[in-house]
Amino acid sequence: MSEDRTLRQNRFSVLISVLGIYFLAAILLIVGVMVSERFLSAANMLSVVGGVTILGLVAVGAAFVTYSGHFADLSIPTTMAFSGVMAVEALQFGIVAAIFTGLLVGLLIGLINGFVIGKFRANPIVWTLAMAFVTRGLMRWIWSNRQIYPEVEGAATGAGQHFVNLYRYHLLGVIPMTVVVLAAFAIGLHFVMKQSSFGRQLQITGASFEAARLSGINVSRNVGLAFLICAMTAAVAGIFLTSLSRVGAYYMGEGYDFAAVTAVVIGGVTLAGGRGSIVGVIGGVLVIGLMRNVMTLMGIDTFAQTIVTGAVFILAVGIQSNSLRRLGRDDA
């Protein structure tokens, strides 16, 4: 009798651990169809995807930080804002220089984070928080709390319009370029995580830092690279976000740190590290998009939406970590 019960529980646990987040996505799709017939229309689906592409870009990079067992990068929002502002500032030298400068900011912040956390083993949450303080303070100080506008800064060269169009550009007239960029990043980073030697080493580093170190893996380099990847995708996302909102300012990207953690963790990358995949993270991002869309279609106001989102977040992670524990695959 009791054996039967454990077996059934295990079957459910296996189901969760295999299908993971796409199980939740399927439930949301069914709910969505029941709520409104407009739900499955191409326009609505495109708006679901379009609404979370920037979050997706941030999340696929942030996944590496969580995968390496270092929780989260709280400097994501300021990295996004800083790269956006710097890109706008560099627009006077042309669109290529602007994008290049934006990426350079990401590179720089990623290198600092990676060095301090990878080499000196500073606590990731506290260090990235300090980093967020410093970059935000710098931004507000240098630009004295002003917003800067790409269409003004790039007016002389005409690059401003190109910059604003970055987010709005469509391939073949239908597929948004942001989605293509996200797909490229997701596929590329998926292979980096699962196929490259760096990815495999990072998995061991995340699962057990000490074991990885003792077996001769260059843990400092791996952890540093994880933070670098995170900052780079945050910089790309920041450039797109600035292009979308037509304004560069210190407050851009606020809230993307916790949103990215949500997507990454409900996507199956456990905080204990060394577990999860980019496929799951994309699923997590889609679930967030679907959830927002379904709730809006149901007429739930934004205030109540935050309550539901928070509850679903805790519940999803709770079920997932519980089933992993039941399968004996995780002690966290």
Partner: protein
């Protein structure tokens, strides 16, 4: 004559007091209109909000967990105390607000200790949930005290009765000192440190770790709600985002005050002093006429230096782990080289 290590230990132990003295001295000497009764009162008042909320964050951190929900719990306490005032009176409203904070803490604690979900996840979740509840309760607008008689308590709480200490500040200091004595001098208080510092020892000693974790979260919720409630009564109004900026300051202060993210370290009193230090810094910078952007930069630089200093000293310690410097010193360098080369040749032969 104190040796170099003695000085380092002294600085490490009283780091936060030295920092406070340093910042205060600098501001007293150079900041215009800094050193007067009125300004000291302002500093004490603005420090007391985050200082009391930092109690809870510190004790949760000592237990080895994180409580990111403090910021919305502060707002919750503020909003509820103003919202319940017409029905329950001040004392009833304060009790209700603190109880609501306690419920938030209890939920956090149960999810962390019993459902075994990571505290980082749980408290991000409850952070958004509580913020949502606040918005639903208030409709997004700020709540204000109405009726002339209701300002009497605010006047009492905010006017200095002793030097530059208004009752609200004195309450904060008493609560902090009370918890400090409880955590350091009593048996159940010290168990909190054991739970966070070494779970296995705690288990062997028969300490119920789960119960302590849950109590830590409850204390955190109550302290945050109480500080928000007292602040709201003091200014006779409550905004929905009162505590938004608090989280960053509390985290920074707790770490600067010597608590460790790994648990088992830290003191409630030192976290409170660190909040005071940051407030003195902010206030002094204000007197220089620089904007809030400089305050964020300054607190970021201080936090970054403290973290970097700790990480670097740990890194140096780690590098010599497993070595025995006192033995290596006895051998002469030539001998060491011989040992190394003989090891190498043996490896090659194998």
């Amino acid at each position: 004559m104190p040796s170099q290590t003695d000085v380092v230990t002294f600085v490490n132990r009283y780091r936060i007091l030295l920092l406070l003295a340093l910042v205060f001295l600098f501001m007293a000497l150079f900041a215009p209109r800094f050193l007067n009764m009125f300004n000291m009162t302002i500093i004490m008042k603005s420090a007391s909000l985050n200082a009391m909320a930092a109690i809870g964050f510190t004790i949760v951190l000592i237990c080895g967990h994180l409580d990111l929900s403090v910021s919305s719990t502060i707002s919750l306490g503020a909003v509820l105390v103003i919202g319940f005032r017409p029905d329950l009176g001040w004392s009833g409203a304060i009790v209700a607000a603190v109880a609501a904070g306690g419920v938030v803490g209890l939920v956090n604690g149960l999810l962390v200790a019993k459902a075994r979900i990571h505290s980082f996840i749980v408290t991000i979740g409850t952070l958004t949930i509580v913020q949502g509840i606040i918005y639903v309760y208030t409709g997004g607008a700020a709540l204000n005290v109405t009726g002339a008689l209701d300002f009497a308590l605010a006047d009492f709480l905010e006017d200095p009765i002793l030097l530059f200490f208004p009752p609200r500040v004195i309450i904060t200091i008493l609560v902090i000192v009370g918890f400090e004595v409880f955590f350091l001098r009593t048996k159940p208080g010290r168990n909190f440190y054991m739970v966070g510092g070494n779970r296995e020892t705690a288990w062997l000693a028969g300490v119920k770790a789960d119960a302590y974790v849950i109590w830590a979260f409850i204390i955190s919720g109550c302290a945050a709600a109480l500080s928000g409630a007292l602040f709201a009564i003091g200014i006779s109004s409550a905004t929905t985002d009162l505590g938004v900026n608090s989280l960053m300051i509390i985290v920074a202060a707790t770490i600067i005050g010597g608590a460790s993210m790994n648990g088992g370290k830290g003191q409630v009193l030192y976290s409170g002093i660190a909040v005071l230090m940051l407030t003195v810094l902010f206030n002094g910078l204000n007197r220089f006429g620089v904007g809030s952007e400089f305050r964020i930069l300054a607190s970021g630089v201080i936090l970054a230096s403290v973290v970097l200093y700790e990480a670097y000293s740990n890194y140096k310690k780690e590098r010599i782990r497993g070595q025995r410097p006192e033995l290596l010193k006895e051998l002469d360098p030539q001998q060491l080289k011989n040992v190394a080369s003989s090891l190498k040749t043996r490896k090659l032969q194998e």
